[in-house]
Amino acid sequence: MKVCLVCSHGGHLTEMLYLMEAFEEHDVFFITYDSLRTRSLEYKKYLLKNIGTNPIKMLISFFKMVKIFLKEKPKIVISTGSEIAIPAFYVAKLLRIKTIFIESWCRVKSPSGTGKIVYHVSDLFLVQWPQLLNRYGKKAKYVGAVI
């Protein structure tokens, strides 16, 4: 099955790399930010410019996601954050691709901005600390953490 992994290039990528064993039976590709580190990432990948809080870059990345998803046709999109998940999840919703969002391990008791935005369109929404559950709706689940 084709699985698309979406994350920014720092800690969110480290968390995703810790979870790679979960995807070993599948055909994976990454959508992440371009950096020294991700250029040497040994998986199939699409490198985007860092969106940060720039609304224009956010808009451009929506179109980039459409292009990538239409070409790759993933069955599922999985993200550990951060804001790069926003265009990915909304475009996935539009194209009827399933999504799993995993809130970062650093979110112990307060939700991330990205988490709050993609919660509504995620098919599965996981947090890594049980104390964060009551800050999200019923959909949120806790099953464990990266460590």
């Binding site: 099955m1 800690g11 480290t14 580190r37 040497s40 460590i147």
Partner: protein, 159 residues
């Protein structure tokens, strides 16, 4: 060797790098710093901004006696697997080190669990080094529950 690391965040962490440079001048032990986007350049320590391969950072974690880190998830996730003393200094919004004070959450929860020493005021950093040997640090193992859960989800979807 003391390895100081501030991760990939786009803002600098002057407060930590400056203080560690001051400490490096006073001690015999070698200090190596990954300074990220910090503008201040240490005078008493070896330093670099970023690496092109994760292995280089892993190698420095391996060599280090003590790790001094910002409270970023990625850095701590990896650092904890080495079973070495970790001093954590969370980036704070008021010093222009991050967009919010969210690093406090991880610093708090890990120091309460006795897995790291959290230092909130860099003036207390030097003192923290005196306490590193008093705590017994164990390497934290990977949690397999999340991985097995995800594996099962994907299997179900494939059918």
């Amino acid at each position: 060797m003391i390895f100081v690391t501030v991760g990939m965040h786009y803002q600098g962490f002057e407060r930590l790098i400056k203080k560690m440079d001051e400490i490096a001048e006073k001690i015999e032990e070698k200090v190596i710093m990954q300074i990220g986007c910090t503008k201040y350049q240490p005078e008493n320590a070896e330093f670099f901004d970023f690496v092109d391969a994760d292995e280089k950072i892993l190698d420095l974690f391996k060599q280090a006696r003590v790790i001094v880190s910002h409270a970023g998830a990625g850095t701590l996730l990896v650092a904890l697997s080495f079973g070495k003393p970790i001093i954590v200094v969370p980036r704070l919004k008021k010093f222009g080190e991050h967009v919010d004070d969210q690093q406090l959450e991880l610093a708090d929860v890990l120091s309460e669990a006795g897995k790291v020493i959290a230092v909130y005021d860099v003036e207390k950093l030097e003192e923290a080094f005196k306490n590193v040997d008093k705590l017994a640090f164990v390497n934290v193992e990977k949690d397999k529950k999340l991985i097995s859960f995800l594996k099962e989800c994907l299997r179900r979807m494939e059918k």
